[in-house]
Symmetry: C3
Subunit: 633 residues, 3 copies
């Protein structure tokens, strides 16, 4: 497939007389796509019912004249001020019970019927007008669902919708009381209308209550997005995308993605390293200008799964951002590296955010490809260089990876509700495994929890899946692949209760978790032969074969057939040992990589990336700082 570049553009921010030159310069830089419109509701509909399409028609026409293809966003992430007068109760409430007001963006509750109706209306108008427009080649719904912690709302609208959701799930209040174990602490309900939202309780609420609320909240996002996708599809045959964020796990992206054609995400390697990774200050400093060497790749692989193979970067960081605790400039070359890494993981397109730095409002300190004075910012050259390289270079071919990693949003909520150890998170656990696989030079496909077909996989890694349906266990047991599970695999039933027989209750694996504990920093338990268990640890018993053993002789991992159970959170060295053991068993070729160097295999070649600020010698030659090498097989 031919890979393409693009950019995010806000014609409404600039004098109309500049549009023509902007479009010309975009085309000249080798860009293909221009995403527009996603925050422009106040310009499309300045007053309720008064539509103003002219400027948007002209903007699209201008871009089209220069051969650019438009991705048109629905503007529902930024309802105009007048919307609040029509629907004063449309705001989400935070966990403290405070309305989250007008004055920035995403100021709506997913459960509010009135606002949903308004969204349907504006999307229909957009889709009717532009659904077959020759220059509108794709759609984006809303913008960054869940950003700014906006999935969960404690509004009245959410409360009433949650009760309906529970009625549909449980049928009778007795069934709900039993599923949640409400006999505990006399929490039993007699009617669904007695059920509140799980905030502002005296001490922690029932974890089953919270998990259902988290599932409900995710479902509200799915329904909100589906409503838009169905309307667009009625008027347009262009593909529909949404732009997800990095490490937003509050809704099930697989379910939202099922209603869309393309997954895309907004990749800010430097900002994300600063504000959402559990790494120490040394690591942050070391990669401050390059980004974490695995974070982008992880999301590439995740969203490739969410998009069922089709995925983009809709917003690529081009320079310093405005929103992290610290906002350094990228090392020269990193914008190019990030772009190529996306392509190596199968991205169809990479769009930079944004064309020109805005001189006003919240993101005025967010770099663009152009400076506010329209002079080129450093990233413009790097983008143009990639465009030139794309023109010359062989096409990137996708290929399934022999390693699959399961990622399950529901498990992330369950861990968040019940971490047991301060700071324990499912995302971090899975990401630690992903890093270890990458350090071994392996390429990975991420799959969702509904995956049952593991044919072609030689290794399946599935840590921390707190709920594992029986058919998933069976599919893994029978997959023929080496399978790594634990800790906490199958530790809860579908309603967040501990199942009996005790976990993992995995077919063919005689292992039982007899006791669970968590470990403060400094309490790490060393393994014989290297590595440690940290943070979360299980005592296990049974007839399976110990393959990792603690210093005191207790088993830390046990194995039977193709399945290995890891009874705790391994540190880097422990996970490297597990990966080595299982990859060798699976007949996979490992290639241990120096820190900061990563590879990714496509169908026809191996890509090498250097996240270090210094050159590294590799078997295929010298890899410059921020360097990219393509090695044909």
């Amino acid at each position: 497939m031919k890979r393409t570049l693009g950019v995010c553009y806000y014609p409404e921010h600039w004098p109309e007389e500049t549009w023509e030159e902007d479009a010309a310069r975009m085309a000249q830089a080798g860009l293909t796509w221009v995403r527009i419109g996603e925050f422009a509701w106040s310009r499309i509909e300045p007053e309720p019912g008064r539509l103003n399409w002219d400027w948007l028609d002209r903007a699209i026409a201008t871009l089209g004249r220069h051969g650019l293809k438009v991705v048109l966003g629905t503007p529902t992430a930024t309802p105009p001020r007048w919307m609040l007068e029509r629907h004063p109760d449309m705001l989400a409430l935070d966990a403290q019970g405070r309305p989250r007001g007008f004055g920035s963006r995403r100021h709506y509750c997913f459960s509010h019927r009135g606002y949903l109706h308004e969204c349907r209306r504006i999307v229909r108008l957009l889709a009717q007008r532009y659904g077959q427009h020759p220059h509108v080649a794709a759609w984006q719904t809303d913008n960054e669902y869940g950003c700014h912690d906006t999935v969960v709302s404690y509004s009245d609208a959410a409360r009433h919708a949650f009760r309906d959701w529970l009625r549909a799930r449980y049928g009778t209040i007795a069934a709900l009381n039993a599923a949640w174990g409400n006999v505990f602490w006399s929490m039993e309900y007699h009617d669904f209308d007695q059920i509140g939202l799980p905030n502002l309780t005296v001490t922690e609420p029932n974890p089953s209550h919270v998990l259902d609320f988290r599932r409900f909240s995710s479902d509200q996002v799915v329904a909100f997005n589906r409503a838009q996708a169905e309307i667009i599809r009625a008027f347009s045959d262009r593909p529909i995308a949404h732009n997800y964020m990095g490490r937003v796990t509050d809704f099930d992206h697989f379910r939202v993605g099922a209603d869309l054609d393309i997954a895309s995400w907004d990749s800010y390697p430097l900002g994300f390293l600063e504000d959402r990774l559990e790494v120490d200050a040394d690591w942050k400093r070391r990669f401050a200008r390059q980004g974490d060497p695995d974070f982008q790749a992880f999301h590439h692989d995740l969203y490739r799964a969410v998009g069922r193979g089709r995925w983009w970067i809709m917003e690529q960081q081009p320079g310093p951002v405005n929103w992290a605790p610290y906002n350094p400039a990228p090392l020269p070359g990193m914008v190019r590296l990030w772009t190529w890494e996306a392509f190596a993981h199968g991205a169809e397109a990479v769009c930079y955010f944004r064309w020109r730095q805005a001189p006003f409002a919240q993101e005025q300190m967010h770099a663009g490809l152009l400076r506010p004075d329209s002079a080129p910012a450093p990233a413009l050259d790097e983008a143009a260089r990639v465009a030139a390289e794309l023109a010359d270079a062989p096409r990137v071919h996708a290929a399934p990876a022999p390693v699959a990693l399961i990622f399950d949003y529901d498990a992330d909520w369950a861990w968040a509700i019940q971490p047991h150890a301060r700071g324990a998170s499912y995302f971090a656990l899975v990401f630690d495994h992903y890093r270890a696989l990458r350090r071994a030079g392996l390429s990975i496909d991420i799959v969702g929890p509904d995956c049952r077909d593991f044919s072609g996989r030689r290794l399946v890694v599935a840590p921390g899946l707190m709920h594992m349906p029986d058919d998933l266990k069976t599919a893994l047991a029978e997959s023929g692949a080496q399978v790594l599970i634990g800790p906490r695999s199958g530790a809860r039933d579908a309603s967040m209760r501990i199942p009996v027989p005790l976990p993992p209750a995995f077919p063919g694996l005689d292992v039982t978790v007899s006791r669970v504990e968590s470990l403060a920093p400094g309490m790490e338990m060393p393994l014989q032969g290297g590595g440690q268990i940290r943070l979360y640890r299980e005592e296990i018993e049974g007839g399976a074969t110990p393959v990792l053993t603690l210093a005191d002789g207790a088993p830390a991992a046990m194995r039977a057939g193709n399945v290995t159970y890891m009874a705790g959170w391994g540190d880097g060295a422990a996970l490297d040992r597990l990966v080595t053991m299982l990859a060798d068993q699976a007949g996979l070729t490992r290639l241990p990589l120096p820190e900061g160097v990563r590879i990714r295999d496509t169908g026809a070649e191996r890509f090498w990336f250097n996240y270090n600020p210094y050159a590294v010698d590799t078997p295929v030659g010298r890899l410059d700082p921020a360097g990219v090498l393509r090695q044909s097989f």
Copy 2:
């Protein structure tokens, strides 16, 4: 006295067909007591006025058939959901003004008259039915008053009750204005109905205002508990207990205890070490699987005083808990050690929490004596071992200790309101003294602030008593014992004003605190001869004899007759020096102990306990990790 064991049990959580076997296994393990009922209101009264006693009758009968004695709890800590419909305003308000809602436990305000009326009603029904039941051998009121920060409420009900309380205390508003010094900042009131609760003020409220509010809040707990005790007594001659918590100081336990027959407490050594002790990370790591070597003993001694000699452990940690930041498993043997230590301090009974780990709801990760699948958890064996040892062993005889330590809840509130140094707390100060006494091998009786009879004491330690009534000063001065007071002793009058003449104004002791300062970490002031003053320091003057002196020659402690005044917060070495000096003066035999080893003397023997994970040689033989030795006198 014959010491006994017990367990907490929730028959309503389990299928009725399992009760029989549960009871049989309890009896077989050597248990005597089973506490039940304290969270079962929604099963006893599923709808307002519809009582359902059958299941409870059968549960008690089953237990009784196996020779077990029931401790029956009143269920008032967990009002059912329907209660909120009858009394929507019964919820406490937090300091931010937010209702603390339904969905966990302790969701009530102690000042709400309607809820108090409901509690009286259900307690009367329970007491009528079971007051003379042959298998009901003791009562528990409510559960863990004050847990989850529930003593203080900022509700309307509290505000009105507080005004009445102030009226009763002060009589006239002029008297209140004078006592509080309300002329300061024009805070004068003209009517009690103008007085609000001391939250959400612009800057800190008047400390006299806060102290009276804290006293009022404590009194509301006393009244709430007394209402239950009076009703139970009208129908039952069985002893009544309440189960207090570790380091909950928000109400005066002595006053609650005065209405009860037995004090009991819920001892979670590992959880408490993690979440409520001012110790550094090294200490927490060192004792992570054993618990702090002094924290349990302190509470044993404290609650023995609260129970006027009669006390239990109502909930003893048997394995990992679910609620601390980190939740490790105990070192093998510690459950036995904790149990024996309680007996050595005079406990009549130790009950484990809980029989079987619940597979659902908030405490599903809290260990029991059984696993969720009914297999024995490690603690069951340790409990059974203690039961066997109890059968064989000589009885434990109580004996008054030659050392008394005064603990005063009112002083804790005063320090909390006015710590002067970040992190300074009365509890921590007293506990530091308790530790030093224990390091010297001394056994201690804790006494309340109303104690005036110090006969038989050779040493009385009373640090930080911010308000000291004159008759207490006199009793101490005339006690014949060595007396240690300071810092801050007598620093405030009954209304939190600085008295003139200046503190301590202690009879026969020519010492005056002329100035007070606090010291940031790093500003510690060394003493000549070893040790330091940290955090809180007083300049003193007068004719008494200096016995500790700062490097600059200023006195740090002064002495006259039998009374020593310590003018600051001594570190460990300073307190060891003070204890050595005073114990020697008092003719007490000290026995300096290695870290982690502790002793406790009863009437006939000395108990040795090893909180270390390694063996220690003692004069009476080798003390295993988690080991217990009994040395006859």
Copy 3:
């Protein structure tokens, strides 16, 4: 000018029979001034409309009889409880939307018309009665505007007043939308009445919105103060002061000061070091008993500018305070040093806070010149010593300094709204420059942002001025002085937008900031020749001459003509290099000083101050710990 001493006194706190002796002792100690009345509203007007002047008449008479001059405070910082019944909505709301209630002080919203009316009324009554009183020699309005974060209020009153303020500023809503860039995220308004306050938004609000709200909030303080000043002036020819705080930057002190005759401030060197300086723990420990060596001087110089030359210390710390995290006692001699340092910077009077330590209410642990028992506290002697020295010593003559430093409150708000780096603040940046100038032995005049006359200055330092009007740029360019600007100079226009051409756009200086980044700790960028850029850094380009260069060769500072642009936040060594370079260029004589030693030049002599707890040898002799030397020119 003859310098004088004074004290703050609360006759209403003490029995009237003690007033006479208090006054006699004040006079005997050499005090001239007594400030009274500023918290006495509840005694002046115990009930609405019932005025009680007698006690105040007598108190003033008593003081006057002893030759003391009264500074009379308006009591508007502490409205009595009855005021709340008349104006229940007069309270400020905090950023969380909670009313900030009665029970301490400053419980009013500056925008509330009803309360403003009450203030006018009481001030008029006071001014009428005492405006020409022979013993009332000066006035103070209110008390410590802005203390306890009280400038900004999110009340309804504030919202409505803010809309009016915006109407006046922008005229049309279209102009506001354009100025704020509200097209971004569809934030456009159709009417001023749609505009809310910028709290509780989903993510950060528009910085232009916030900056205007901060300006409005400041203007409300100006108007509130002006209302009082105008009334007082109508009845009295005595000078009017206000007592500002240390590092309160929430309102524009220059604008408040423009309506007053004298600036004064409340100087608490030990408390301020503990609670409001970005210095590390070592520094805090080193100067814990002396105070930061530059913080007082900075405020002396700042408030001298605010007072247009006339300034006092209205409250001088005399011993431990009650409100900092830790509250140590001063090193002996420091009270004297602080007093003399104020005089060296031109203070007309220094008043100690307070006469006698109050035994009650919030400040009972705040030292006075007397202890609560009326015995002298250590500071009384030091004050009396200064009084004696003043009698003998040559007069202190003011002289303009050759170095001017610009301080702009508006810039502080802009940085606070958009720090870009965690912890970056304008105050800290300016203070770092001030320290470097002081380390070089230079004396400094601070000037406001409206200053256009730089005649007589040889060096003007103006870092971080985010908005620089064109005429300020011109005045600086043409001043003849060496001028230091940057970072962020002229980085925003008057409405917080990035200007084009890009900053600094300074006449005659060919420097353009092409990109901006921020640096986490550990990312400091070394300069060739010593020093580093930290926290905030700009890439610059242009034809000016590099004078500081980063290790990679990029320019860190550039210079053309008399103007130097610093492209980042220099650490101490970098700023020392800049100061050296510019002072030498300006022909200023530097005198590098040892740590903790500071000098200040007046018209006729040089003062030396030793903030160290050890003696230091200087060219003019030995400087004792806490020592002061006067060196005649």
